[in-house]
Symmetry: C2
Subunit: 118 residues, 2 copies
């Protein structure tokens, strides 16, 4: 599970939306941020990561990956450019995995208080 | 939601299980760690926190609280004494809240790779 998290971060570093999407099961869900409409299935997930990476988003872990049963949770900073401005967003993601090691559920926790210039 | 997280951490600092339990709705659930049996209702939750705090557990945030819709997520270190040994455990908790600002669901993400001497 830690290797999948690292592969996810590496995919952002390369701007490789297909590599990020390949980590998910066919019927996986992505809720980013939590409370927004859930994206379901690899087509919707692929579109989401292509749009995310178009902002130049780069992820940097800010602590060790936590793993519990079939779950991982990790805190990180996202740096991206939005409407010409550099932003840093503090995020915690949770992943749930299936027995094949694919992500079946991704949820991202962040809000306005977690967004900063820079 | 950030104030509730801070009150939760303060309750551990004082060893006050009742204060931690008072942050939860009557029918709330606690899954700590994720993958273990879910504790449901304030009686079970009160017993859980009394036992947790009997280890001398103290919580220290290791990053900003993330808030999203009716959810909070936060990373922290727990320091406690277990079978005479000092342990540090790296944890990420997620809280879901009701409209009254009470915690209705708590989940704790950590596993063996997140436990260290000290």
């Amino acid at each position: 599970m830690i290797e999948v998290v690292e592969a996810y971060i590496d995919a952002f570093a390369r701007g490789d939306a297909a590599a990020a999407t390949a980590l998910f099961a066919d019927d996986a869900t992505v809720e980013d941020p939590v409370g927004s409409p859930v994206r379901r299935g690899v087509d919707a997930i692929g579109e989401f990561y292509a749009a995310s990476m178009a902002t130049g988003a780069r992820l940097q872990l800010t602590g060790p990956v936590r793993t519990a049963a079939k779950h991982a949770a990790f805190s990180f900073d996202v740096r991206l450019t939005y409407e010409g401005k550099s932003l840093r967003i503090e995020v915690i993601d949770t992943f749930r995995f299936n027995d094949a090691g694919q992500i079946v559920e991704m949820r991202a926790f962040f809000g306005p208080t977690n967004m900063h210039p820079g």
